[in-house]
Amino acid sequence: MSTPMKRIGIDVGGTNTDAALLDGSKVLAAVKTFTTADVTSGVRTALKELVAKAGPAAEGVTAVMIGTTHYTNAVVERRNLGRAAAIRVSLPASASLKPFCDWPADLAAQVVGGVHLVHGGHEYDGRELVPMDEAEVAAAARAIRAAGVNAVAISATFSPLTAACEERAAEIVRNEHPDCHVTLSSALGRIGLLERENVALMNASLIDLARETTQAFVDAVAASGLNARLYITQNDGTVALAEAAREYPVFSFASGPTNSMRGAALLAGIENAMVCDVGGTTADIGCLVNGFPREANNVVEVGGVRTLFRMPDLLSIAVGGGTIIGSDPITVGPRSVGYRLGQEALVFGGSTVTSTDIAVASGLIDLGDRSKVAHLDPAFVKAALAKIHETVAESVDRMKTDATEVPLLAVGGGAMLIPDRIPGISEVVHVEHSNVANAVGAAIAQISGETDRIYRDVERDEAIAMARAEAVESAARAGADPATIKVIDVEDLPLSYLPGKAIRTRVRVVGEAAALAPEAAE
């Protein structure tokens, strides 16, 4: 028998910071607090309240797993984004469709910190397209420095097959512009230059936010006095060590909704259902298949930008507890007061009409000071609520795959905004502890390991077996219990250009968090 695992899951949303203490799959305690501007104090408060609430049960916690929607919210709401420059190594190919060419104009206006196309890149067969023009890369780096931009995404033709151009370009950039953070597209995405480049550009625009946010998590856990490893949850329901996760905020893009869906499945004991998670800023609608989110088949749009990497199939809409309601004509979002809900909503003494105020005025929930919404015109309240309901119902319908009625799990702090009856839904199930489902989902996240490399002169099966062994090792190093590790994804791409047989193999595995080293375990 393995040691019973006590873990804390924390979800840092745009509005709320929630925490849950789990022993195996049992929720021992859960708390809900407001997210703070500095993030740290909110997480610290949540941890303190959780430990106080749990009492002696909080002894022996070995891992803290944090999930956050911070990065997606930044892109969706177009705020806290840094400027990012693009260096694409592809000329003379791909000249007409430049980096950012398929971004929404408002997002591009905030992020674009220069677009530089230089000569170089590779062919599908590993030959050089043309020799990389290092002087052009250096000139681009100097221009980026002169423009005061400190984050660069580098993409190159066929970099998933050979990252040589991107890596050399990164060296040149670091040499010319030492303060610059560099994201390589080859570290993030698959074949598909535009989409891979888009992911890298978004990562670059979020890097400052990711560093600040991760540091805030580290500080908060340190201040809590817990002797536990800190993990950050990823898009696929797994976790990575904080120091590895901080460089790749895009890998946490969908971790909030993924945690919420997995948490809801555990709490409701229903593994196949639609899920609607209403947070402070957005509502995420997805579909649970055997307790895991259905994975997106194709390109996934984030804030209107096409991306191609491992993501759950989700529809995000601008409906949340903090969504700003306009009058004359009645509008729902897309702006949200976010973490300032506790100050800005009418019921909390503020002056902005939010969907939470509409819910209180409609008697759906008792929150804050009800008298502060007494002055709202009942006709306006009714119409605003109808508009919210209509938006939610329509979006649930869009995510359904067939006409069969299925249950809908209502999750999140804003779950009261979900209508009781939705066409195509057999019943709306409000889940116990649902307002901390994200935190619960974070706590049950598994540790992943991945390997991605080229094997020569071996058969496909043999290459996959070797890659699998390496992935298992990397997961074990990250803290997974080797006995529980299983493969969740295998991808292979034969490389016809290399002499003999060559195959690029990528294997991803997951396992349960192992008990910490003896001094930390009970």
Binding site: S90, Y124, L129, N298, T401, S496
Partner: protein, 373 residues
């Protein structure tokens, strides 16, 4: 009766709108049967070109004078490469100018080699850049991987000359070839050498040849197909149903991808995808083979649908076409068959594009047999 030639210009010429381009991209991708490349990059280029004030005119093939000179255009190569080396209109125009110089004569119009995939949109880029009208026709009615797999090759028309341009300053002219197969072999070698992607201008056709041997009105058909899918999506109706209805197709299988094996060889993307049945097909499996495009689908040892019938794998939810280069584990797909152009059902047609042409020693049997109109 040649009434079409007497139609007024307003009946025979149609200015295509930016919306038509969006619909064309959807329809062409479905007719691409997994190949021809995702039209997305070409659509992006068209959006940029329309935003710059350029536009494209579509003309009725029957309005072409017999002696009109029509450029047959395509982007040649492995679709996988197109995801990394992005379509560029300047580069697409090059082989057309090379051909004009080679022939010492200007073209009157351009048309697509194949309506399927990105190549259905490819001539639109050239038309927008040059001002030449696009003929409402192609030579495949779908997408196929090789040069001899066209209506004009089946009809035995001349296979040369061919011009090919590389993004580096390499220009290649094939003034003569012994046969369509030779043209395919030689041009494919050159294409592979320059990175398995090349802009080409195939053997030019006269107006008379297009009228007699082209697959007519395929551009309109693709635009119509795309528009119906978009309408179905907007109305939350079943887009698969919309494709089946608009394309007079048959639903063959519904399932989930469980394994994909692909290899890039000799300028092609070859391989197979395994499907596990869902819904009414639960409990049965299917294997779909491809060489750039889907060629034959088996249930166990039994071939159930094969080229030249169009085998389309569409995303079950969105109705979006799925390319052989992006097909992935876990995707939920519907396998549809659409009827082949008549010309490919002849003996000569089947010898060019039947299952044997793709390495399958099985007799052709259409899923539409007995139900043909």
């Amino acid at each position: 009766m040649s009434t079409l030639a007497r139609r007024s210009p307003s009946q025979t010429h149609r200015a295509l709108t930016a919306d038509d381009m969006e619909a064309l991209a959807i329809g062409a991708w479905i007719l691409g049967t997994g190949g021809g490349g995702d039209p997305y990059h070409k659509l992006l280029n068209m959006r940029q070109l329309y935003a710059e004030g350029r536009s494209v005119e579509l003309i009725d093939p029957m309005a072409l004078p017999d002696d009109a000179l029509v450029a047959v255009l395509s982007n040649m190569g492995a679709p996988l490469v197109g995801q990394e080396r992005l379509a560029d209109p300047d580069f697409a125009v090059k082989p057309l100018r090379m051909m004009e110089e080679h022939l010492g004569r200007k073209f009157d119009a351009v048309m697509a080699l194949e309506i399927g995939g990105g190549n259905g949109v490819h001539p639109m880029m050239v038309a927008a850049m040059t001002g030449y009208p696009v003929v409402d026709a192609d030579t495949m009615g779908r997408a196929y991987p090789e040069a001899q797999m066209t209506s004009v090759a089946v009809a035995g028309l001349r296979c040369y000359p061919l011009t090919m341009a590389d993004i580096r300053d390499n220009e290649i002219i094939f003034p003569r070839a012994a046969s369509w197969r030779w043209m395919e072999r030689i041009s494919r070698k050159a294409c592979t050498e320059i990175g398995s992607v090349a802009a080409t201008c195939k053997a030019p056709r006269t107006g008379a040849e297009v009228k007699q041997h082209g697959i007519l009105y395929s551009v309109s058909k693709a635009i119509d197909l795309g528009r119906k899918v978009a309408q179905a999506r907007r109305a939350h109706a079943d887009p698969i149903e919309a494709v089946l209805e608009a394309g007079h197709g048959k639903l063959i299988f519904t399932g989930k991808i469980t394994d994909v094996e692909r290899r890039a060889t000799e300028g092609f993307l070859r391989g197979k995808a395994k499907l596990e049945g869902l819904g009414p097909d639960a409990g049965s499996d299917m294997v779909v083979h491809f060489q750039n495009e889907f060629s034959v689908a088996f249930k166990g040892d039994v071939p159930v649908v094969m080229t030249p019938d169009l085998i389309c794998l569409l995303d079950t939810v969105s109705g979006e076409g799925i390319g052989t280069d992006v097909i992935r584990f876990g995707q939920r797909v519907s396998v549809l068959a659409l009827p082949a152009p008549e010309v490919f059902l002849s003996e000569a047609g089947l010898s060019a594009v039947g299952p044997k042409a793709f390495g399958f020693d099985i007799p052709f049997k259409s899923v539409f047999e007995g139900a043909s109109a």
